[in-house]
């Protein structure tokens, strides 16, 4: 898109909702803590000595407790990673929203801002046309801020995709 063409616009809407991401991240952190705590408890069960539970059944019990401990640990780590990733995503998107709001703020005094869009001036600035020249200056400034915001949005999204796509061994590792 040519930023000097007349009648152009940029979209300053943000699709993601950082607040809902933070709520889910909090829930994930709670699940992580619960699983990590359970892993500690099961680890203690797995250390039960022969005097408390002897024989083959005691061996099997300790082995099963160890398997459950490991499964709890893995689920806890996965939950923790998702919680941290989603928190970073929410924080990143909050910063994107702030930068988009800055673009709107620099544009609003000089340009049309409607329906989550900023519109460029409708004509080139002629000699002594101070108002239109100010409009173009605001447009360039807003576009720069908008680009920075969208670059950050892309970066934050890619990082979240990496977090979500990581658990290739998640299910298989349980077996």
């Amino acid at each position: 898109m040519s930023i000097t063409a007349v009648g152009r616009s940029i979209d300053v809407e943000l699709d993601a909702d950082p607040a809902s991401c933070m709520r889910t991240a909090t829930a994930l952190a709670a699940l992580a803590e619960t699983c990590e705590q359970a892993a500690l408890v099961l680890g203690r069960h797995a250390q039960l000595d022969e005097a408390a539970f002897g024989g083959l059944s005691g061996i099997v019990y300790r082995s099963s407790s160890t398997l459950l401990e490991q499964a709890c640990g893995r689920t806890g780590r996965r939950s923790r990673r998702l919680a941290e990733g989603l928190t970073a995503f929410a924080q990143g998107m909050t910063e994107v929203r702030r930068r988009l709001d800055e673009a709107v703020a620099v544009a609003a005094p000089h340009l049309d801002v409607t329906d989550d869009r900023i519109w460029s001036p409708l004509r080139s600035a002629g000699p002594d046309d101070v108002v239109t020249a100010q409009g173009w200056a605001a447009w360039h400034d807003a576009v720069d801020r908008w680009r920075a915001a969208r670059d950050l949005e892309e970066q934050v999204s890619q990082e979240w995709v990496r977090v979500v796509d990581r658990p290739v061994l998640f299910e298989g590792a349980e077996r």
């Binding site: 943000l14 909702d17 991240a25 699940l31 359970a38 024989g55 398997l67």
Partner: protein, 95 residues
């Protein structure tokens, strides 16, 4: 054959397992957030995790149940026979 068993401690283990299972299950319901274009893939990942946590809680309950059943049978046969019981279900062993 003698098998040494601390019945009170094992009963306590069973109760702790049930409590942990309940706690995990109560935390396993995760509302998918609004992540824009990534909402669907995020919801899928959270759903997988929720299911995994749910199965984990189920396994903990099965282990607690198996322990309780074992204690019941062990008490009934105390002093009479050696015990070679299946303590655990196939599901628990297949973790």
């Amino acid at each position: 054959m003698t098998i040494s068993v601390d019945v009170d401690l094992l009963r306590q283990h069973g109760l702790v397992l049930l409590a942990e299972a309940e706690e995990i299950e109560s935390r396993s319901c995760l509302d998918p957030p609004d992540v824009g274009p990534l909402t669907a893939v995020t919801a899928e990942a959270l759903d997988r995790l929720s299911q995994r946590a749910g199965r984990l809680a189920g396994h903990a309950r099965e282990l607690a149940d198996a322990l309780e059943r074992w204690l019941g049978v062990a008490h009934a046969t105390d002093g009479e026979v050696g015990l070679g019981l299946d303590l655990l279900t196939a599901q628990v062993l297949a973790l």
